[in-house]
Structures are given as C-alpha cells and as structure tokens.
Amino acid sequence: MSIKKDNNWEPRILAFCCNWCTYTGADLAGLNRMKYPENVRVIRVPCSSKVNPQFVLRAFQKGADGVLVCGCHPGDCHYSTGNYFTRRRFMLLQRLLEYNGIDPKRFQAKWISGSEAAKFRDTVAEVSAQIKALGPNNKFVGAHYDNTVMEKEAEGGKD
C-alpha cells in the first residue's frame, strides 16, 4: 500500500503495448530520443487482444491512475484479427467503467503502429496531462485491501 499523495504528485499510468506495433513504436521513440513524461510504464504483451479486462480492473484496484491499451491499427494486426476483438472489448469496457464512475480519460485505448514513434510520444504526453488534471484516482482503489496475503504468496519473499 503506497499511494503517495504529496504535492509533487505524479500519476501512475500503465500502458499495455502490443509487441509488434506499439512496443516497437515506443522503442523507436527512444531511438529518436523523443522525450515524454516518466509516469507511464509499459507492459509488453504479444497482442493487444491478450489484455484481459480484469488486468485493467486490477490496475485501478491497486492504485493506478490511468490505464492505456495500445495495439496495431485495425487491419495491421500481426496476428491479423486480434485488435478487432480488442476494439470491441475495450469500447464496451470503457463505457462500463464510465458508467461506474471512472472518467473515460483514465482508461483509453489507442492504435499506434511501429513507425508512429511521435504518436506514441504525443499519446503518452496527452494521457499523462489529462490524468494529471484529473488528479489521483480514488475509485476502485483497494484502500483497506491487505496486501500481505499477496506478499506472502509471492514466492519466497526475502530470504
């Protein structure tokens, strides 16, 4: 449990990026030394369609301020049709979350191809700014959730 709420508050944003397009695009942004905010953390997945809506719920529960799902543009999916499923799943999830009180800016999906480094940078900057403006997320956060169960479970812990 460690949600810092100091004055220099930086949002914590998770980005699920597909290996073939967006992750490559993010690498390309690095290669081109583009700059973007530090508060976005990328989780690599083979395809945006691997992202289970439960991951998103889990992220909010654990205190993420925003979640981004990125994949290839429809029609360009490395696995040919995965992102069409992504599109349906997350259009519905976004609406369901909004319905439950989560600002749709907190959960977004974007198509970013392997060559769109600038789009990756801009998306990250934009989402980051939007979420900064919204402030910390306090909805769905497991405020009284005991993390110790987890800690114990994580194999080993400290020797």
Binding site: C47, S80, G82
Partner: protein, 659 residues
C-alpha cells in the same frame, strides 16, 4: 524458492548517463526473491555474459532479470547465453531501461525511480515464469502446389529441383493455365507457347513431380510440416493408365460444344484433350455434353478405343496425402464484362471481344489459324478500337484495382494488328498508360511508332449501326467527345481471382483482401507468405500481375518451401497458449477468436461426481498457435493461458508497477 539474479547494464553511458544504475541494482537487492543484483558496463558483451554465467553458478540463480536495452534487441542473445547454463532460457525477463527509459527522459531522479519500477515489474514477472521447452515437429518432405498455371509449374519445378517431391493439383484436364492460351508475350514478343510448353513438359516428366490434373483440393488439416490434404479426383471417364493419348476418340465424337480453351470461338468434342500441347496429353469426357452420359446413347469412343480405356462408370475418388508445405497458385479469371457493361452492348455484338479472345484469334494454333478476322462475318477488320480498364479501376462495377497487365498487352495487340493487317488503324482508349517494367516503356513507344492512336478517355457506349461498331468516347486531352466507327472492339477486361477462391481460402484457413485476392503476410517483407505458416502463394492469386512477376514470385515461393523442407524437423515456439482442461467448461468462446483456427473442442474423459463421463474441452493445436493470446481474454474461467505471458505473470507486473 525463487533465486533471481538482477543485472543492470550501463550500455556504455547510454543508460548510465540518465539512470543511476548502481542505485537501481541496490534497490533490486531488496526486491522479493532477488538473490543477487549487480550492474555492469555492457551486459551483452563477452565479459558481461561471462559475468552473468558466473553469477548463476556462484549464487545458484534460477531466474534472471536484465535491465538493459529493449527485449526486442537482445532477448534472443541472452536466451542463447542461458542455453549454456542451468537456467532455462525462458526464465529470463528484460527490463527496458534504454529505449523506454534512459533515452526518453532527462530527469535523473525520476528516470531512476522509473527504472527501479521497471526492474521490480520484471522481477515480479520472472518470479512466475515457468521453464519452457521448444518442441520439435517432424517435417513431411513433400510440397503441394495448388494450380498448374505458369506460377504453379515454376514453383513445382524449383522445389522439385531442390530434390523434394511435389504434387501439382490442377482443376483443368491439362496444366498450362492462361499462359498457353496467349500468342506472344510482351515486351520481347516471343511466342508464349514456345516458352511455356517446354516447362509443362518438364513438369510432366520430372521424377519428383506428380501431376494431379482434373483434381481439386477437398480439405486441408494440420499445420506447417504436417498438412493432411484430401484431393478430389474428378471423373475423367478415361483410364489414363491405359490411354496412350492417340486421340482417335476425339475425332469420332459426334458431340460438339464450345471450347473453353479457345474462349468460345470454336468447338470441341465431348471427349477432348483441351489443346494440342496439353500435359498430360490424354482426354477426359465432359459429362455435361457426352451423349452416353447424359442420354445413354452413342458410346462410340468406348467402341473405337483400341485400349479399352474408356470407363463410363468412373467415380469421383478421394485420396489423402501428407505435405510439409503448400503453395497456392490458383491464378485469375477474366471478369465477366457482359454482365457488368450493358453500355458496351452487354455481349450482344460478336465483334466486341476480350483481350484473351484476341489472343486466340491471333494465335497460329487458334480457331482462325492466326488470321485476325471478325467473329461475326469472318471479314478482316480495318478499324479496331481497344478499350482499356474494362472492369478495372471502376469502383461502380465493383473493382477499384488496376489489372496491371492490360496496358502492355493492349499495346501488344495494337502492334500485332498494325503488323498483320496492312492499312489498319488502331485506336486505344486509355485513362493512363502504365508501363513500369523493364523494356515496357520502349514497347509502348514502339506501338505508337507503329501508328496506334492513343486517345485519353473512357468509352461511354459501344453500339452497332449497320456494319460498324460505334464507339463513343471523350478525347479528354482535346476536351471533346469523339466517335470511332470500328470493325472490331477489343476490351481489356479486368482480372479477378479464380471463381472458387473463397473455397480454397476457407479450406486453407488463410485470408483474402476486399477484392478476394489472397492476402500476403506482409506486402513488402513477406510477399509470398500467407498468415498461416507453411502456406505460400505466388502468381495472380495474390493480385493481378504479368508473367515475369508471376514467375519471379513462383521461384520465391519455392525457395521459401525449400527452406522448410530441407529440415527434418522444426523447432516450435514454446510461447503458445494451452488449456487447463480440468477447469475448461468447453463453452467454445475461445474458438472463433483464434485467427489460426488452432483451437478445437475435443472430447476427453472426465468425472461427474462418481460417474465417468466424456467432457468436451478446448484444445490448442501447437503447430498452429502463434501465441497472440487473443483467446486468453475471451476465456471467462481463465483456463486458457499463454505461456510466457500468463495472466498471472501480467497481473504480477500490474501489481509491481502499482506498488
């Protein structure tokens, strides 16, 4: 108990100049499960790798996290390195500290904090990694080529020359496809039959090639290296083992029907060899035309066949064969312009012909022995109009693409007419002249020099008045409507995919584009591959193209096939989905989400209380699964999971990042 080793790379100064790598390594030491953590200048270098190996031994590490450049860069390098150690190569995670951290940030404190976070994420994930092992699947050293046109023949010959067995399945009685129908080939004007028939003969005689003419692919199952294909042999009614191809039956057959080979401009008997140079040069009986088969009369061929090869009771046969790779070369068909263009007479006028009909007209072995005459009255035409883009580049008629070969063959036709008919005039209505090929522009130049009139504009209407075909167009360069009174009109009709392409695509589990051309895996970098591993394509089934491109593509596909067949077995990626069948409800929701049709429902023994029952559960075909994970998110119980990217691993990453 996990023993994780964390190795933070400086990447020279690339990472270290922005990220406090020592601090990151220090922080890693207190992460759950971490037994060892250090930093080093170049992890990917020889000494760097040696250091990791040493640390593995010294600290009995079983999982590795490397904080370095993007995993897309060196994941394979480090996996290879781990092969030489006790650690399974898949017990490795890479935190992307360079491309997605050091290079994109400037604030040292924040970048370091992020780097620690990323390492924590990788540590959390690797703690849930399981050793994975690549498996080897054996490869059937035999290829199937679907379609026996020039593309299929070329691909088959190249594969066969590499020493592998090839089977060509061709739906027509002879291989050869469209190329043998043509007269001359642009831009060199060599005789099409002269260059294609030797290849047909080679294919027929090659010890590694099996011809299956008058056959179709019935069904395909399996995956790369191990396709099982059922081939349907249509009823030939002639025993080709006995038949010597003497042709006596053809001459005596009383029934005459329209010849497909001559594009409807001549007749053939009901028992027929489609053309003189056919391979195999043995007849089949057209069951829709034969009197014996339709009305139980005649039976002459059976009576006169000296070898008793005729069998009216022939039946469709199915054979099952194994193949290691498949080449699709199903080719094209000309679009049926008669239905599409009522304004061009809709087929009412015999003297409005297609380019392919003209090829037969001008061909010395064609119905007129090479004399260009009007089909209606046999007169030699003086004024000929060629209309390009009939069906092509016409979204209203359903095809927006360019058929690519028409500009050149229309120039060729113009040249042939001007050459063969003294005093003739040729008008070519065009929208653009597209000649991107070696020697093509020069060919176009020559045709204009020959006297062909190029008029820029689409033709609006073709109709007949008295003896003449009236062609109304606009000369859009003049900005004036123009009319040509022609004796003959040649339409450069659009190419479209072979009629049964949907069936083929569906059987093979590959995909088509909006115009039903087969979709290549990548338009630039994987032009002869399909989405499905082990299935390749070449020629016009992929899109309209001319002979040189087709042949080049065929050889490319053959090389791809040979690259598979030259191995005895192949390694499969272990990062594929698998099903926990004890939890699976067998609802089948994962099945339609798989782009590779890798998931099927199978029956397995199970228990219901004390009873033994048969359960239906999902199963992943390891040869077909490509590891996208789309099915994972469709599964409500979470029982189908992608190895290397399991739900649990990703949830751990989420937790670690939010910590």
């Amino acid at each position: 108990m996990a023993r994780i080793g964390v190795f933070i790379c400086h990447c020279g100064t690339n990472i270290a100049s922005v990220v406090d790598v020592e601090k990151v390594a220090q922080a890693a030491k207190s992460m759950p499960g971490v037994a060892f953590a250090t930093d080093y200048k170049y992890m990917c270098s020889e000494p760097g790798q040696a250091m990791i190996k040493q640390a593995i031994e010294e600290h009995h590490l079983d999982r590795i996290v490397i904080g370095s450049c993007s995993p897309r860069m060196h994941e394979l390098t480090f996996r290879k390195m781990l092969k030489a150690t006790n650690v399974n190569p898949y017990m490795l995670e890479i935190a992307n500290l360079r491309e997605q951290c050091a290079w994109v940030h400037t604030d040292r404190a924040k970048a370091t904090e992020k780097a620690i976070n990323l390492v924590r994420m990788s540590v959390a994930k690797v703690g849930n990694n399981k050793p994975l092992h690549t498996s080897m699947i054996p490869i059937t050293k035999k290829a199937l080529v679907i379609g026996g046109g020039i593309a299929g023949i070329q691909a088959a010959l190249d594969i066969a020359d590499c020493g592998f067995d090839v089977t060509i399945v061709e739906k027509e009685p002879s291989i050869g496809g469209h190329m043998v129908m043509l007269d001359k080939t642009f831009p060199t004007m060599d005789c099409s039959a002269c260059i294609s028939t030797p290849k047909m003969v080679d294919a027929g005689a090659h010890p590694n090639i099996t011809l299956k003419t008058y056959c179709e692919v019935e069904s395909v199952s399996g995956y790369i290296g191990n396709f099982e294909v059922t081939i349907k042999e249509k009823t030939k009614f002639v025993n080709h083992d006995l038949c010597t191809g003497c042709g006596l039956c053809q001459t005596k057959c009383p029934t005459k029907v329209i010849s497909e080979f001559n594009q409807g401009m001549s007749k053939r008997p009901a028992i027929y060899i489609p053309f003189a140079q056919a391979v195999p040069s043995k007849p089949v009986i057209d069951e829709n035309a034969c009197l014996k088969l339709t009305k139980d009369k005649c039976g002459i061929c059976e009576k006169i066949c000296p070898l008793g090869a005729i069998n009216y009771k022939d039946e469709v046969r199915y054979t099952k064969e194994q193949f290691g790779a498949i080449v699709v070369a199903t080719g094209y068909e000309l679009a049926d312009w008669k239905k599409m263009y009522p304004e061009y007479g809709g087929g009412r006028y015999e003297d409005v012909i297609t380019g392919l009909q003209f090829e037969r007209l001008v061909n010395a072995s064609g119905p007129t022995e090479g004399h260009i005459v009007r089909p209606s009255d046999g007169k030699e035409p003086k004024d000929v109009v060629i209309v390009k883009c009939v069906g092509s580049r016409d979204p209203k008629k359903g095809k927006s693409y360019c058929s690519r070969a028409c500009c050149m063959y229309s120039a060729k036709h113009a040249h042939q007419i001007l050459d063969k008919i003294p005093g003739s005039r040729v008008y070519i209505f065009y929208m653009d002249v597209r000649t991107p090929g070696k020697g093509y522009e020069e060919f176009y130049d020559n045709t204009r020099r020959d006297g062909a009139q190029y008029i820029r504009g689409r033709v609006s209407k073709i109709y007949k008045e008295d003896d003449k075909l009236i062609v109304k167009g606009e000369d859009s360069l003049l900005g004036r409507p123009v009319t040509v009174e022609a004796d003959m009109v040649i339409l450069a009709t659009a190419m479209e995919p072979a009629p049964k392409i949907e069936e083929v695509v569906q059987k093979l589990g590959i995909s088509m584009d909006k115009d039903k051309w087969i979709q290549e895996a990548h338009p630039k970098l994987r032009p002869v591959e399909t989405q499905s591993a082990g299935i390749f394509l070449c020629g016009t089934c992929q899109g309209p193209k001319d002979i040189p491109d087709t042949v080049a593509q065929a050889s490319a596909a053959a090389a791809k096939v040979a690259a598979i067949l030259c191995h005895d077995e192949m390694e499969t990626s272990p990062m594929i989905s698998s099903v926990d069948q004890t939890k699976c409800s067998g609802c089948g929701f994962c099945v339609p989400t798989c782009p590779y049709k890798a998931i099927s429902l199978v029956e397995v023994p199970g228990r219901d209380g004390n009873r033994k029952v048969t359960k239906k559960v999902a199963q992943v075909n390891e040869g077909l699964c490509q590891g996208c994970g789309c099915c994972n998110a469709a599964c409500r119980t979470g029982c189908i999971d992608l190895k290397g990217f399991t739900n649990d691993q990703i949830l751990k990453e989420v937790d670690a990042l939010c910590l």
